[in-house]
């Protein structure tokens, strides 16, 4: 059983604060982290491997050289191996170009050991498009299942996976043939506190780093900025709503004024 998890390095939006006045980032100490959803993706791979009692977990990331850090983080969680594709040619990729590059890397990875399952996060918190996962699936022509909240069963004989997928008002139970691609929600599992041997392994680990030329039959026009159909036209401040009235005065005055306003819609507040 060979599981590959796609992991992305993202800026920690908990730490990067947007300064509401200037509309800009407050960059003071903004470390890059493993995309939280991807951490759950790795954890799920570890859980599956654990249940099967065997298997091999690889993680794959496209990003700058520093992204080795999040691959090490994945090894802490329990990944066996990590690949980073890093090259100027990939820079400025939108989701289409990203899924292309990643699919080429996946082809290469599968040369050593064919892939049974690919797991992605539901989305990356820096852009939250959630488009790369399904994109990869299409390029490899395997079925994608998005918004997965539980992997109930992996049947190696039948080569099927039983999955709960979140939908608007509940979930659907799906059976999917392997190989397939899942994108996972946070609630799929809790990240476990990694055992010491993993920590030591991760501290030592040196990911395999590939450049474009290490990948096979790549059409460079589909990479990076060139390969990205979408471009950012303009940036603009959100259209200012007319801005409401202020309720001035002492706290008590403010409150009684507010109550007047609210009581115009009494019925909403069950105080009849």
């Amino acid at each position: 059983m060979h599981i590959v998890v796609c992991v992305k390095q993202v800026p920690d939006t908990k730490i990067i604060k947007i300064n509401p006045k200037t509309n800009t980032l407050d960059r003071r100490s903004a470390p890059a982290i493993l995309n939280p959803y991807d951490a759950h993706a790795v954890q799920e791979a570890v859980r599956i491997k654990g249940n099967l009692g065997k298997g091999h977990i690889s993680v794959l990331s496209m990003g700058p050289p520093q992204a080795v850090e999040i691959i090490k983080k994945s090894v802490e969680i329990g990944a066996d191996e990590g690949y980073l594709i890093s090259d100027r040619a990939f820079a400025g990729a939108d989701t289409l170009a990203t899924s292309y590059a990643l699919s080429k890397a996946l082809d290469k990875i599968s040369e050593n050991q064919s892939i049974d399952l690919i797991i992605c996060g539901k989305h990356a918190i820096d852009g939250d498009t959630g488009q790369v996962g399904p994109g990869i699936a299409r390029r490899l022509d395997i079925p994608p299942v998005t918004n997965v909240i539980e992997v109930c069963e992996v049947n190696e004989q039948e080569r099927t996976v039983l999955i709960k997928r979140k939908i608007v008002n509940g979930y659907e139970l799906l059976q999917v043939n392997m190989p397939c691609l899942l994108t996972v929600e946070k609630e799929i599992n809790d990240i476990e506190y990694s055992p010491m041997p993993n920590m030591i392994k991760a501290a030592r680990y040196k990911p395999i780093i590939w450049s474009v030329n290490d990948l096979n039959d790549v059409d460079k026009t589909q990479l990076g900025l060139k390969g990205s159909p979408t471009i950012v036209g303009k940036m603009f401040s959100p259209p200012k709503a007319e801005g409401g009235k202020r309720i001035e005065g002492t706290t008590d005055e403010q409150i009684s004024r507010l109550m007047e306003v609210l009581m115009e819609q009494k019925e909403l507040f069950n105080v009849k």
């Binding site: 908990k14 990067i16 947007i18 509401p20 509309n23 800009t24 939108d94 989701t95 289409l96 989305h123 820096d126 498009t129 959630g130 488009q131 996962g133 399904p134 994109g135 299409r138 994608p144 299942v145 998005t146 918004n147 979140k166 939908i167 608007v168 008002n169 509940g170 979930y171 659907e172 139970l173 799906l174 059976q175 609630e187 159909p229 979408t230 471009i231 950012v232 036209g233 940036m235 401040s237 959100p238 200012k240 709503a241 801005g243 409401g244 009235k245 309720i247 706290t251 008590d252 409150i255 009684s256 507010l258 109550m259 306003v261 819609q265 909403l268 507040f269 069950n270 105080v271 009849k272």
Partner: protein, 341 residues
């Protein structure tokens, strides 16, 4: 690029129920189509869905492309994708919109990859540049209280997923005429690599949040999880639903499904209390269409006041308890009982 004409909207339906967002997109798509002087089409896939076509037309479509097939009974990426791609390759729309729902995003992502075209995610504003015939899909940009307009110049169709509840549906017009184009497709269940075993409905909290008439949403400004109880207490007192900002959710004060905003729920209640919330665009896009917005923030320059109907500059920790007290008194006075609307 040549020969791509028309604006399309993917009509998402669950067991014969058309999703609200699809109707909203017909409204938005209508405007785009009129500007470009092209027809607006709905794309409807499913099993026994032809009867829904008239509704699609009454909400603004000139045409409905329908693929009706038993294999399409439940949504599945592989089957729906094949139908949609077949249509798109045959009839070549220039703009193709989807609701940013789990299925809409899933389908659009797969289709965009096969059509090798651009897809803008979670759009909150739509417009067109008429002479360039360019879709201008805008969304909050990462890393700033700022919007970015995403363009797709060299590829067609120009695709976007659009957040629910940000566009307005038209009043249905039952006399509106439109054509229904039925398309056949060869799908065999045994070819499907995904099988739907069953579908389990449970009204999750988010659903109730989406339907709530009154929402009390608290932000990081509440200080800590203890103080955040005030939000729960106020909500309980007035029979409202509780919501939170992403920072609140990340701080673990509320579970994820209570998050309101770009990556959470979009809500449009009659009354929305924004308490201790700065009003970052990623939050605002999720609540700005609420009817009455009350903002309480101690920073007079907080952007939340720009979208608020009424703004109160002050300390939530002082104001909210008094507000709770007021409501409790009124209720006593009027002998009203709390019942959750």
């Amino acid at each position: 690029m040549e020969g791509y004409r028309g604006v399309w909207v993917f009509i998402e339906q669950n067991e014969g129920e058309i999703e609200g967002v699809s109707l909203e997109l017909l409204g938005a798509g209508r405007k785009l189509a009129d500007k470009l002087e092209v027809p607006l089409a709905g794309v409807l896939l499913g099993d026994g869905v032809i009867p829904l076509s008239s509704k699609v037309i009454s909400y603004g479509a000139d045409k409905v492309y329908v693929i009706d097939h038993p294999v399409l009974k439940h949504y599945r990426t592989e089957s729906f994708m094949r139908g949609v791609i077949q249509l798109a390759e045959k009839y070549k729309p220039e703009i193709f919109l989807y609701g940013a729902t789990p299925n809409g995003k899933d389908l659009a992502s797969a289709v965009a990859t096969d059509l090798c075209t651009g897809l803008t995610a979670d759009t909150t504003m739509l417009d067109v540049d008429v002479e360039k015939r360019l879709l201008e899909a805008s969304r909050p940009a990462f890393g700033g209280n700022i919007m970015a307009t995403i363009l797709c110049k060299k590829h067609r169709p120009q695709m976007a997923t659009v957040r629910p509840k940000v566009m307005k549906a038209l009043e249905p017009d039952d006399h509106k005429q439109g054509s229904i184009i039925e398309e056949t497709i060869s799908l065999k269940e045994e070819d499907m690599r995904t099988k739907v075993i069953n579908i389990v409905k449970d009204v999750t909290k988010t659903a109730s949040l989406a339907e709530a008439h009154v929402i009390v949403c608290g932000g990081k400004g509440m200080g800590d999880v203890q103080n955040f109880q005030l939000i729960h207490e106020l909500a309980e007192t007035i029979g409202a639903s509780v919501g939170g900002t992403r920072d609140v959710v990340e701080a673990g004060w509320l579970p994820h499904e209570y998050q309101i905003g770009q990556t959470g729920e979009t809500v449009t209640p009659k009354v929305y209390f924004a308490i201790g919330i700065s009003g970052a665009i990623q939050h605002v896009v999720g609540m700005k269409n609420s009817e009455l917005i009350i903002a309480i923030n101690k920073d007079p320059n907080a952007p939340i006041f720009d979208v608020a109907t009424y703004g109160i500059v002050g300390d939530a920790l002082e104001i909210v308890p008094k507000l709770i007290k007021q409501f409790k008194e009124i209720r006593k006075a009027e002998g009203g009982e709390i019942s959750y609307a």
